[in-house]
Amino acid sequence: MNAGNQIKKTLADLQDFYLLSINSILKLFKRPLYFDDIIEQMEYAGSASVFIVSLVCLFVGMALSLQLSAELSGLGLKMYTGKIVGIAVIREIGPLVTALVFIGRVGAGQTAEIGSMILGHQIDTLRVYGIDPIKKVVIPRVIASVVMLPCLTIIGDLVCLIGGYYIAVFVSNQSGSFYWSSIIEELTFQNVFSGTIKPFIFGYLISCISCFYGLTTRGGAKGLRTSTTKAVVISIITVIATDFILTRILFYALGFNV
């Protein structure tokens, strides 16, 4: 494909992605709403992801606490471990790590599932009988992601802090009660708000990207591999870039000093 055609295709893809994202919101208010599918997707995206999110967050929390304890003890500031772990996890690391795990587990699954439905003509079958694939297939996944990613983030934050606590208390010999009290001190509106708003946006973006690449799958098993890979890569880049932009906006809006 020459450069001109490639640009045209990219622009067409962007337009299609934009339409899918908008339609997944607009069609939410039109009947029918497929409650059974929403519940099924929430179970897949949420409760089935708790273990993997907890496992990853536990190790991230421990690694973070270990790094901070080592650096801060050299400066005689070891008692700030809890405070810094708390701020980093609640504002940034918790939402981001959970979103990245969510991309790998749920986003990739959504692309593969929808892609397989495209290749097996199941989506075409829905369209033939007048059932809108956006309502039947996309919206339940978007709702599940937007609802379940914030829930997973709260669990991930908590497990991350528990991992940090374990290292701070049992490896770095700090006071456990001081660790928790310094974290509780950081549970301000600004910190909690900036950490909880992100997962809603990440969930929406991840599911829209995943569904888009699933719906545009072409060309058999190789095509499915390509679309799943693209969905994961684009989701990761989008989430990290959006995280930076959101952080900048939230810092400005919530009056953080930089």
Partner: protein, 245 residues
């Protein structure tokens, strides 16, 4: 009536259909023949408005469907029942729920009535014992039968569309599917269009044959004309037929 008027279609840079034109009545029994990847399934998708042509008109019952949106296409699509290659059953649903799916979604019938109809349809296509099975547990032939039952579930249509109904099946199952297709057409008194690359299947079921070669229709005629055709591509393709009949 289906009218294709100078229809062009391409996937990216690859031109699949190059200005094809034909007219078909709903009560005809038509086979679209040609090599794999030659654009046969594309014709079915164009008839249903699942894809739009790059150029040309597709007219169904007097309506040019190339300009219609998804909502406007619904009544056009309801004129057809389609059985896609390998059935396109929903993997996560057992057989009875697959057949019940569109009755539940579109006809809004009570569960009792739905399951009564499901049992009746499964009995009609000869897989009444499979209602609790998942699609992955079905053989290729059973898959197609369940897909046919599901296509019948939404009510009477004007024409059946079959995409490679016997692909990947052993001779016995192929024969069963062909008998089922013929019986349904006879009993319902409606025509069908079969996409296939197996000329024997087409010969057994159809009385009109459209032959595609490199994106163009190189032959369109009845059984006599097919046998007597001097077009080399058609002659090569129907060699198997002479052997079997």
């Amino acid at each position: 009536m289906i009218v294709f008027d100078n229809v062009w279609f391409s996937y990216g840079d690859r031109e699949v259909l190059k200005g094809i034109s034909f007219t078909a009545n709903f009560d005809e029994r038509i086979a679209v023949l040609g090599e794999s990847g030659g654009g046969k399934t594309t014709i079915l998708k164009l008839i249903l408005g699942l894809i739009s042509p790059d150029k040309g008109k597709i007219i169904i019952d007097g309506v040019d469907i190339t300009q219609l949106n998804e909502e406007e296409l619904i009544p056009i699509r309801r004129k057809f029942s389609i059985v896609f290659q390998e059935g396109a059953l929903f993997d996560s649903l057992p057989v009875k729920e697959n057949v019940a799916f569109f009755m539940r979604e579109l006809l809004k019938l009570p569960d009792e009535e739905i399951y009564r109809r499901v049992r009746e349809l499964l009995r009609r296509v000869g897989v009444e014992d499979a209602e609790e099975l998942m699609p992955e547990e079905l053989s290729g032939g059973m898959h197609r039968r369940v897909a046919i039952a599901r296509a019948l579930a939404v009510g009477k249509t004007k024409m059946f569309l079959y995409d490679e109904p016997t692909a990947g099946l052993d001779p016995i199952n192929s024969e069963r599917i062909m008998t089922l297709i013929k019986d349904l057409a006879d009993k319902e008194n409606i025509g069908f269009m079969i996409i296939t690359h197996v000329v024997y299947v087409a010969w057994q079921l159809c009385n009109r044959f459209i032959f595609l070669k490199e994106g163009q229709i190189v032959f369109d005629g009845n059984k006599d004309e097919l046998i007597k055709s001097n077009i080399s591509a058609v002659k090569d393709f129907i060699k198997e037929l002479f052997f079997r009949i």
